[in-house]
Amino acid sequence: MLEEHANVVRFVSLAGEVTGRKKLQKMVYIAKKFDFPFHEKYHFHMYGPYSEELTMRVEELCTMGFLTERKEDKGSYKQYCYEVTDKGNTFSDSFCKEAAGLPQIIDELNTQSARFLELVSTLLYFDELARDEQIIKVRTVKAKLNFTDEEMTRAFQFIAQLNPFKNNENGV
């Protein structure tokens, strides 16, 4: 019961703080791609893979008092920071199952920029394509971001680096 809500709370708790809605979206997507138990559906959106269900869930968890959302004015845009409340920690402790590898993967993801995670998640979105095709596709759908060859290489290395943390448990 309530695992799907609790999993999101646990995710933020493990991260300590997540800065930016886009970053949170991409972090959860990447964790999901590594078979961690997130049921939120993703589609391709203007910033790459995006889940409206996750957006709704986060807003709901804030309303319930399990997460806090802090809005920072960055001039041309607003940034949202998420943390877990004490009540949220009690909630996730009650309903969450441990997932080996998740803390490590979150640590890796949370140190990266939103731009880099956008690249990684978009590459993963097209992971059924061959590597060259993946790159062409990302350059097509993300033309405005002008990702460099160096960033592409680093993104593939990063994905390889996350592989050992993949969730191998059945029944995600």
Binding site: L2, M56, S94, F95, K137, V172
Partner: protein, 432 residues
């Protein structure tokens, strides 16, 4: 004449209760409808378990897909054809994407996806791009045509006008399902003036916009959608049926993994239970097979599987209470403890279900996420976002609504016999 432009000797029509007729002139469309993967959609209900509440809701994904195709055909052939902003060479890819957009839906779509952690859009793409009859038809147009159709459905296609026709806040998909679902459920919500909306749709740069004179028709459409979600799609009783369906499949999977000997081997489910599903196995499974196995499972020795499948077939559904996890999450822990003492399996007989909806939203500059808005085209050629002009839409714009319920078998809790007092205590905690 190439296959892409080949027309049938005579126009074919499908009689349709929503659009009166669905017109087909293109050989490609006719051939796609005849494929086994598209015919399979006849055996997938559009509204899953809703027929257990609204008994008319037996219509299929097949009829909805034809409806989305027909709306798209009317837009591109009757409305957009005279506008230079519309690239006429995109006609066929738009029609094919409209027809095939739901191709990957599995049986009882969302419940089934939830249990096996599947994504029907990924299967739609896999069917279009894989070794299938649909792919063979599309490849006759050109080698890269299947990929183009797939990209439209995936929303990564270069021409965003085509994407918007099939998938946006005012698209052919929604316009069909709202009307079709209203018709078959028999409810009075869901009706709006589609003819008017189609007449005022305009291609513009990378989107589809609505002439501002059509604003009230769009308001009506958005309110129809809002009402259909809460009155039909999220109906608490059909959610109860969906909960039981999910739990039946979960139980069957748990037993399979534990090595339980079924009376009839669950062969069509094995790859789903193992989490290793081939495209062919996915296409093979439909709702008829699920219902057949539910019949078999009513005779199983396992009491939980037998009870749940029987409940689903005979509509002995769970009751529900409203629930606020923010205020009351510890109540669930208390209930789980009482269930254990009473010898009831909370995993199958105490189920939380939540749902939420956002009727209309738009991307706000400076914010990180949001939906692409509906834009109104003013007489001076300027665009304005819908909720800036419509007070009705403004009132619900960006407003999310959530709903949580706990489902439980009240009939079991009311039974006399062993541990009656514990069951009574459970009912008290549930405020029954």
């Amino acid at each position: 004449m190439s296959y892409a432009t080949k027309k049938l000797a005579e126009e074919k029509v499908f009689k349709d209760p929503v659009h009166r007729y669905v017109h087909v002139r293109d050989q490609v469309i006719w051939d796609l409808v005849a494929t086994r993967e598209f015919q399979r959609l006849r055996r997938i209900k559009q509204l899953g378990t809703t027929y257990l509440v609204f008994h008319g809701a037996e219509h299929s994904r097949f009829s909805h897909s034809l409806g989305v195709y027909e709306i798209t055909r009317r837009v591109v052939d009757d409305v957009f054809v005279n506008y230079p902003e519309w690239d006429k060479s995109e006609r066929l890819v738009a029609l094919c994407a409209a027809l095939l957009h739901d191709l990957g839906h599995g049986p009882f779509s969302h419940a089934f996806e939830h249990v096996f952690n599947l994504d029907h859009e990924a299967y739609t793409r896999a069917i279009i791009l894989g070794d299938t009859e649909v792919n063979a038809v599309l490849r006759r147009v050109s080698e890269d045509f299947p990929q183009k159709v797939s990209d439209v459905i995936e929303k990564t296609y270069d021409n965003q006008q085509v994407v918007s026709l099939i998938s946006s806040q005012i698209d052919a998909d929604r316009m069909d399902y709202l009307q079709r679902d209203a018709y078959f459920t028999g409810v009075s919500y869901g009706h709006f003036d589609m003819e008017r909306i189609l007449r005022v749709m305009r291609p513009r740069e990378d989107q589809i916009v609505i002439k501002s004179s059509g604003m009230h028709a769009v308001e009506d459409y958005i309110m129809s959608r809002y009402q259909m979600y809460w009155q039909v799609y999220f109906h608490p009783v059909s959610r109860s049926a969906e909960v039981i369906l999910r739990k039946t499949l979960e139980r069957a999977q748990e037993l399979y993994r534990a090595g339980y000997m079924f009376n009839v081997a669950p062969t069509p489910f094995q790859s789903f239970f193992d989490g290793n599903i081939s495209l062919e196995q996915y296409i093979e499974l439909d709702e008829n097979i699920i219902m057949t196995y539910f019949h078999f499972w009513t005779h199983e020795e396992d009491a939980i599987l037998s009870d749940l499948s029987s409940r689903f077939l005979n509509r002995r559904l769970f009751k529900y209470i409203e629930y606020d996890p923010g205020a009351d999450f510890k109540k669930v822990l208390e209930l789980e403890e009482l269930y254990k003492k009473a010898g009831l399996n909370a995993n199958y007989y105490l189920v939380h279900d939540s749902t939420s909806d956002l009727p209309y939203d738009f991307y706000r500059p400076g914010e990180e996420e949001g939906r692409l808005p509906i834009h109104l085209l003013r007489s001076n050629g300027e665009l304005s976002e819908l909720s800036r002009s419509s007070e009705v839409v403004e009132a619900i714009s960006g407003k999310r609504r959530f709903d949580h319920k706990i489902y439980f078998p009240e009939d079991v809790l009311l039974e006399n016999g062993k541990k009656r007092m514990l069951r009574k205590q459970i009912l008290e905690v549930l405020n029954r």
